[in-house]
C-alpha cells in the first residue's frame, strides 16, 4: 500500500512541479512596463569592490538601459528591441552601433551576472519542473531544460515562497549536476500584486569568491512608458 502511494506521488510530482512553475511565471510577470534603478556591486577576491549604476526601462521584451556609473560607462546606453536586435550608444563615439552578441552567457561587464541571467522572464516554457520538497513556507522545484530549449543553465533548483509564488533562490547547475551559480532574490517590494526583489545576489561557483549584488534603489511598475522611448533616436539623443 505504501509503495503504491509512493509510486502515485512520483507520478504526480512532475505535473505538480510544472503547475507550480507556471504559477511562478505568472507571479513574476504581472507588469506591463517597469523602471528600475540599480546599483550593482561586484566583489572579486583580491580586488576592491566595483560599483556600476544602471537605469532600466522595460516594456514587453524591449529594454532601454542607461549606465550612470562608473565614469567610463556613464552615458552609455543600450537598447534591446528583441533578443536579436540590440543597439548601443557610446557617448565618446557619438554613434549608435548595432551589437550582435553571441556571448550572452558571459559575465555582464565582468560581473557574476550574465546577460542571459537578466533576460530570462519565464521558465515553464523552457524547463520541466518537478517538486523536490516543500515545507510550510517554501517549495523547492527541480527544473530540467526541455529538449531543444536554449538556456544558460541545464538544471535549476528553485526555491519558491509558497504564499506568493515568488522565487527566492536559484541554484544553477550544469548537465552533470555540478554547481555553476547561486542566485538569491529577496526583500520583495509589492505594488498591488506586482512584486519585485529589491536585493539580489549572484555567486559564481566556478570563480570562487566572485559574487555580485544587485540593489534595486528605485522601482516603478506600470507607469505608462511610451514606445517612443525604445527607439534609436532616444538612444542617440538620450532621455
Amino acid at each position: 500500500m505504501m509503495s503504491l502511494a509512493a509510486l502515485a506521488l512520483c507520478i504526480a510530482a512532475p505535473a505538480d512541479g510544472q503547475a507550480h512553475l507556471q504559477k511562478v511565471d505568472e507571479a513574476i510577470n504581472r507588469w506591463t512596463d517597469q523602471f528600475f534603478s540599480y546599483e550593482m556591486i561586484d566583489h572579486q577576491p583580491g580586488k576592491s569592490p566595483r560599483t556600476l549604476g544602471l537605469e532600466v526601462h522595460m516594456l514587453g521584451e524591449k529594454r532601454f538601459t542607461q549606465f550612470t556609473a562608473p565614469a567610463e560607462m556613464k552615458g552609455t546606453r543600450i537598447l534591446i528591441l528583441s533578443p536579436t536586435r540590440m543597439y548601443v550608444y557610446l557617448p565618446a563615439y557619438k554613434k549608435v552601433r548595432r551589437v550582435a552578441s553571441h556571448v550572452s552567457a558571459q559575465g555582464l561587464m565582468g560581473t557574476a551576472y550574465a546577460s542571459d541571467d537578466l533576460a530570462v522572464e519565464t521558465y515553464s516554457d523552457l524547463y520541466t519542473a518537478k517538486l523536490k520538497s516543500q515545507d510550510d513556507t517554501n517549495l523547492v522545484l527541480d527544473l530540467v531544460a526541455k529538449k531543444g530549449a536554449t538556456v544558460p543553465y541545464p538544471q535549476i533548483e528553485m526555491t519558491v515562497e509558497k504564499k506568493r509564488y515568488l522565487p527566492k533562490k536559484f541554484v544553477y547547475k550544469d548537465t552533470d549536476g555540478s554547481l555553476m551559480k547561486t542566485e538569491r532574490r529577496g526583500a520583495y517590494k509589492c505594488v498591488g500584486d506586482i512584486c519585485a526583489p529589491t536585493k539580489m545576489q549572484m555567486e559564481d561557483h566556478r570563480r570562487p569568491g566572485h559574487k555580485t549584488q544587485l540593489l534595486n534603489k528605485k522601482w516603478k511598475p506600470n507607469s505608462g512608458l511610451k514606445p517612443s522611448l525604445f527607439t534609436k533616436r532616444t538612444l542617440q539623443k538620450g532621455l
Binding site: 580586488k47 565614469a71 557619438k94 549608435v96 552601433r97 548595432r98 556571448v103
Partner: protein
C-alpha cells in the same frame, strides 16, 4: 670538570645519563611528527631585493605566477574535432574550483565589425562551427591570439590556465595535469609555466630525498660499520645524529618553524657529519680501555683527552652552518640554524649519551694493527715532508691557480639548471619554443594614466622598439587590445583619439581575464608581456639590457608628444620604430622622405569618404531608415562630403512631407546627427589611405597593413599635436620584471650570500681553532687546508663552467663545516704526539678516521646525485668531491708546514688508529 665527567659516565651515572638523554631527546623528537611543511619555492627569493619586490608586486597585480600553460600538438588545429576536444578541455578545466580560469582558442571573446553592419560580440571560434577559411582569417588577423593560443602553422594549441589567487601551486598543477590527461594523451601533453615548474622541482627533490635518504643513511651506516669494524659501536655512534636530527626537527615544531625543501637533506648531513664525533670518542675509548680494562675510567680519560678537540671540531662545523644566517633567503637561514642545532645535539649526545651507553654496555673491541690507509697516507706525508719548500710552492701555486679559476665562477641562475634534459619542464620548454617561439616572458610594468591616448601611443611605440630587439618574439600590450575594440567601434585598428573613447573601449573589455593580465582595473598600470625566444644565458643578458635601455628611454621624457618640430621628429621616430618592428630598416633617404611625408597634411579623397558614409546609411545604425530610398541614400552620402551647412543641404533633400511619419525638419536633424561621426571617421580613413599609398611609394617593401599602421601614427600624432600640451612622462614610471630579471636577482643574491657566508664561516672557524689551539698561527694552519679545498673546488667549477647558483652557493659553508674537522684532528694529534716524528705519528693515528669520514660523507652525498633533481645533483656531487679533496689537502698542507714542537699541555690525539 673531572667530577662532572665522572658523574656522567661513572658506573652509577652512566645508565642514568643514557636514560635522561633518551627521554629528553626522545620527547623532543616526538614533536617532530607535528612539523609543518612550507612548499613555497618563492620563499627562496632573496628578501628586500628591488627586483624581487617588483617581481612579487607585478605578479600579484597581473597574476603572472599563477599561470600554467598547457600545450599539445595536433595535425590540424582548425579541424572541428580538434576544436571540440580543445573546447571540452577548456570547459573541464573551467569547471574545477581549483582553477580560476582557462583561456584557449575556444573561449576567446572578440569584438569585431559585423559583416551585416554594426559590431558583434562573439567567440572568436564559435561553438556551432564556422567555415575554415573564415576562421583562419579571423585568427590570423589577431596577433594576440595567432602565435599565442594557436601556433602560426596551426599545428599546436596553448591553453593559459590561471590559478585562483592564493592557491597552492602544487594542488593547482596536479588538478590541471589530471584534467588535461583526461582529454589529451599524456605523451602528447606539454606543461609549462611557474606552477608546473615549481611543483616539478619540489616534487622531484622531495621524491629523491624520500627515496634516496634511507639508502644514503644505510650506506653511511654500512661504511661506518666496515671502517670501524664494530657493529655495536658504529650503531651507537649513529644513534647520536639520529636523536640529534629528531631533536632539531622537534625544536622546529615547538618553535612553529615549518620545514622546507633544503631542510629535507638534513638527515644525510647529520648522519654523515654528526656520526664522526661519536666515532672519535669511541675510537679513543677502545684504545684506552684495551690498556686500562675499566670502561668507566677509560671513558673518563677519553673524554678529558679528546673532549675539547671533538667540541672544537663540532663547533667549527656548527659555525659553518651558522654562516647561513648571513644569507638573504629565509629557508636557507632556517636550514643553517636548525641543521646547526641538530649538529649541536649530535655533539652533546656524542659526549654524553654515547660514552654513557658504551660504559653501561662495557663495549670493547679487539686491538688491530695499522691499516693500509694509515700506511699509504703516512707515505704521502713523508714524501711531502721530504721536500717541504717545493710542496709549499706547489700548494701556493695550486691555491693561486685555483683562486684565479674560481674568480671565473660567475653567479648565473640558469633556469635549465633546475631540470634535466628530457624532464617534463624541459620538454615543455622545447615544445613552446618550437611551436610558439618561446615560453619565457618579461613583463614591463608602466604606471601612468592609460586612459590618455598619448600614453597608449607610448606603449605602442615601446612595443615596436622592443620588438626590434634580438631575441624578442612578440610583445602583447593593452594598446593593441584597445585598438582592436576601436576597430569594431570606429572602423580602424588604432588607439582612439580621445580619453573618453578609450574609456568606452575599456568598458567593452571589462571582466575579460586575458585583458586583466595587461591592465589594472583603474587603468593606471599596464604590463607589456614580452615573449622571448630560446636564448643562451649570455644572449639573455644582452636582450634584457637592451629592453631595459628601451624602457629607460621611454621614461626619460623624450617620447612626449609635443607641438612643432619636436612633434614632427617624434612622429618620424615612432613611424621608424613601427617599420623596424616589421623587420624593415629604412635608409637615410627613406627616412628623409618619411619626414617630408609626416610634415605635410594628407588630403582625403572625397569619394572614399562618400563611400564610407553610404556604407553607414546602408546599415541599421542610422536614426533614419533609408532602406526603401536608395536614391536619397546616395544623395545624402554625396551631400555629406560637399561642404558646410550639412543640415541645410539635407533639408533640401528630404521630401517635404518627411519620412516614415516624421516631419522633414526632424528627419534632416536626425540624419545630420547620425552622420556626424561617420563623416569624421570616413575622412580619417581617407587620409590614412592617401598617406598609406604615399608611404608604399617611399618604402615599396611595406605591406598594406604596416603602411596603414604608419599612416595612422602620422594621423594620430598630428591630432595629438593639436590638443593641449601633454606631459605623460612626468608621471610615468616603469619596471622590468619576469623570470630572467628574477634570475639575475637570484644570481646577485647567490654571489652576495656566498661571499658573506664564506667570510662569516672562515672568521668563526679561525676564531674557534685559534682559541682551541691557543695560537693564531695554529688556527691559520688548521684553516689553511679548507681554504685550499675551496680554491680547488671553486677553481674546478670555474674550469668546468659550473655557475654559482642557489644550490652551489651553499657549498662553501658545507665544505668549511665538514672539511675543517680533519685539520682540527690532525693538528691536535700532532701537538699531542710524543713520537720522534710527530707529523707521521699524527698522520697514522688520524688517517683512518679522516678518510673514513671523508668517504662516508662523500658516499652519502654521492648517492643523492643519482636522483632526478638537478639542484640536488650539483650541490651533492660537489660536496662529495670537496670532502675527498679536503682530506687529501689536510695531510699535505699540514705536513708542508712542520713546526717547532711547543707542548703546552698533555693533549692526546683523539683519533688514534684502531687498536
Amino acid at each position: 670538570m673531572r667530577r662532572f665527567i665522572r658523574t656522567l659516565v661513572g658506573p652509577r651515572g652512566a645508565p642514568v645519563t643514557s636514560l635522561i638523554c633518551l627521554i629528553v631527546f626522545g620527547a623532543l623528537g616526538a614533536f617532530a611528527t607535528q612539523i609543518a611543511h612550507d612548499d613555497d619555492l618563492l620563499a627562496f627569493l632573496p628578501e628586500g631585493h628591488t627586483d624581487v619586490l617588483a617581481f612579487r608586486e607585478i605578479n600579484e597585480r597581473f597574476g603572472g605566477l599563477e599561470v600554467g600553460v598547457v600545450g599539445y600538438a595536433v595535425d590540424d588545429a582548425l579541424a572541428p574535432s580538434e576544436l571540440a576536444r580543445l573546447r571540452e578541455l577548456t570547459q573541464a578545466l573551467d569547471k574545477r574550483p581549483e582553477v580560476g580560469y582557462a583561456l584557449s582558442l575556444t573561449n576567446v571573446q572578440d569584438v569585431a565589425p559585423d559583416p551585416a553592419g554594426g559590431i558583434q560580440r562573439r567567440l572568436l571560434v564559435p561553438a556551432d562551427g564556422i567555415e575554415r577559411s573564415e576562421l583562419q582569417t579571423r585568427i590570423a588577423a589577431r596577433p594576440l591570439i595567432h602565435g599565442e593560443l594557436v601556433s602560426h602553422d596551426f599545428k599546436a594549441y596553448a591553453l593559459y590556465v590561471f590559478a585562483p589567487p592564493g592557491s597552492d601551486p602544487r594542488t593547482f598543477a596536479k588538478v590541471v595535469r589530471e584534467v588535461a590527461e583526461s582529454k589529451v594523451n599524456s605523451d602528447e601533453l606539454r606543461l609549462y609555466g611557474a606552477p608546473f615548474i615549481s611543483s616539478y622541482i619540489y616534487e622531484t627533490t622531495q621524491e629523491d630525498l624520500r627515496r634516496l635518504t634511507p639508502w644514503a643513511v644505510a650506506l653511511v651506516v654500512l661504511l661506518v660499520i666496515i671502517a670501524f669494524r664494530d657493529l655495536w659501536g658504529a650503531l651507537l655512534a649513529l644513534v647520536a645524529p639520529a636523536l640529534g636530527a629528531g631533536g632539531a626537527l622537534g625544536a622546529m615544531a615547538l618553535a612553529g618553524v615549518p620545514s622546507n625543501l633544503v631542510l629535507s637533506s638534513m638527515p644525510v648531513i647529520l648522519f654523515s657529519v654528526g656520526s664522526a664525533y661519536g666515532i672519535h670518542v669511541l675510537a679513543r675509548y677502545y684504545s684506552v680501555v684495551a690498556e686500562s680494562g675499566n670502561p668507566s675510567e677509560a671513558m673518563q680519560e677519553t673524554l678529558i683527552e679528546v673532549g675539547p678537540t671533538v667540541i672544537a671540531a663540532g663547533l667549527t662545523t656548527i659555525a659553518g652552518l651558522l654562516s647561513f644566517l648571513a644569507m638573504d633567503m629565509a629557508p636557507l637561514r632556517t636550514f643553517g640554524l636548525f641543521t646547526a642545532l641538530g649538529l649541536l645535539f649530535s655533539l652533546i649526545l656524542s659526549l654524553t649519551f654515547v660514552p654513557a651507553v658504551a660504559c653501561t654496555l662495557k663495549l670493547r673491541v679487539r686491538p688491530r694493527g695499522p691499516s693500509l690507509v694509515s700506511r699509504a697516507t703516512a707515505d704521502v706525508v713523508a714524501s711531502v715532508m721530504a721536500r717541504p719548500a717545493m710542496m709549499r710552492v706547489v700548494l701556493v701555486a695550486v691555491f693561486v691557480f685555483g683562486a684565479a679559476l674560481a674568480a671565473r665562477v660567475d653567479a648565473r641562475m640558469d633556469p635549465k639548471s633546475f631540470f634535466a634534459d628530457g624532464s617534463p619542464p624541459a620538454q615543455g620548454e622545447a615544445f613552446f619554443a618550437e611551436h610558439f617561439g618561446g615560453a619565457t616572458y618579461l613583463q614591463v610594468e608602466l604606471t601612468a594614466d592609460f586612459q590618455q591616448p598619448e600614453n597608449l601611443h607610448m606603449i605602442a611605440e615601446l612595443s615596436d622598439r622592443m620588438s626590434a630587439v634580438s631575441g624578442v618574439v612578440s610583445v602583447r600590450h593593452v594598446a593593441e587590445v584597445v585598438a582592436e575594440v576601436n576597430k569594431a567601434l570606429q572602423g580602424s585598428k588604432r588607439v582612439p583619439d580621445t580619453a573618453a573613447q578609450i574609456r568606452s573601449a575599456y568598458g567593452f573589455l571589462a571582466g575579460q581575464r586575458s585583458v586583466e593580465q595587461l591592465v589594472t582595473a583603474d587603468r593606471q598600470t599596464v604590463a607589456l608581456m614580452v615573449k622571448l625566444g630560446p636564448l643562451t644565458l649570455d644572449q639573455m643578458d644582452v636582450t634584457l639590457r637592451e629592453i631595459e635601455g628601451r624602457v629607460a628611454e621611454a621614461t626619460s621624457g623624450h617620447w612626449v608628444v609635443r607641438r612643432g618640430v619636436q612633434a614632427l621628429g617624434a612622429r618620424v621616430r615612432r613611424a621608424v620604430a613601427a617599420i623596424e618592428a616589421q623587420g624593415i630598416r629604412p635608409n637615410a633617404e627613406q627616412r628623409a622622405e618619411l619626414r617630408a611625408l609626416a610634415a605635410k597634411d594628407a588630403t582625403p579623397d572625397p569619394k572614399v569618404v562618400e563611400a564610407y558614409v553610404l556604407k553607414f546609411l546602408n546599415s541599421e545604425e542610422g536614426l533614419v531608415d533609408l532602406s526603401e530610398h536608395p536614391e536619397l541614400r546616395a544623395q545624402v552620402a554625396h551631400a555629406a562630403v560637399s561642404g558646410d551647412k550639412l543640415q541645410d543641404r539635407l533639408l533640401s533633400l528630404v521630401p517635404v512631407d518627411g519620412l516614415d511619419g516624421e516631419d522633414q525638419q526632424t528627419v534632416a536633424e536626425d540624419l545630420a546627427l547620425s552622420l556626424e561621426a561617420p563623416i569624421s571617421e570616413g575622412s580619417r580613413q581617407a587620409r590614412v589611405r592617401s598617406r598609406s599609398k604615399e608611404l608604399q611609394g617611399t618604402l615599396p617593401t611595406l605591406t598594406n597593413a604596416a603602411a596603414e599602421q604608419v599612416a595612422y601614427i602620422f594621423e594620430a600624432s598630428a591630432l595629438l599635436d593639436l590638443g593641449p600640451p601633454k606631459e605623460p612622462a612626468s608621471s610615468l614610471s616603469a619596471r622590468v620584471s619576469g623570470l630572467p630579471v628574477l634570475h639575475r636577482a637570484l644570481s646577485e643574491s647567490a654571489r652576495n650570500n656566498q661571499l658573506s657566508s664564506l667570510a662569516v664561516a672562515m672568521g668563526l672557524v679561525l676564531f674557534v681553532l685559534s682559541l682551541r689551539f691557543g695560537s693564531l698561527g695554529l688556527g691559520f694552519l688548521a684553516t689553511a687546508p679548507t681554504a685550499l679545498t675551496l680554491a680547488v673546488v671553486y677553481g674546478g667549477m670555474g674550469a668546468l663552467g659550473i655557475h654559482l647558483d642557489l644550490g652551489t652557493s651553499m657549498l662553501a659553508s658545507l665544505i668549511i663545516g665538514a672539511g675543517v674537522d680533519y685539520a682540527v684532528h690532525l693538528v691536535a694529534a700532532e701537538r699531542a704526539s710524543t713520537a720522534e716524528n710527530t707529523m707521521l705519528d699524527a698522520t697514522r693515528k688520524t688517517a683512518p678516521a679522516v678518510w673514513t669520514n671523508a668517504l662516508v660523507v662523500a658516499a652519502g652525498f654521492a648517492l643523492l646525485t643519482t636522483g632526478e633533481a638537478r639542484p640536488l645533483q650539483n650541490v651533492a656531487g660537489l660536496t662529495a668531491a670537496a670532502l675527498l679533496v679536503a682530506a687529501l689537502t689536510t695531510f699535505v698542507t699540514v705536513a708542508a708546514w712542520p713546526r717547532a714542537k711547543k707542548r703546552t699541555q698533555p693533549v692526546v690525539a683523539l683519533s688514534e688508529e684502531r687498536p
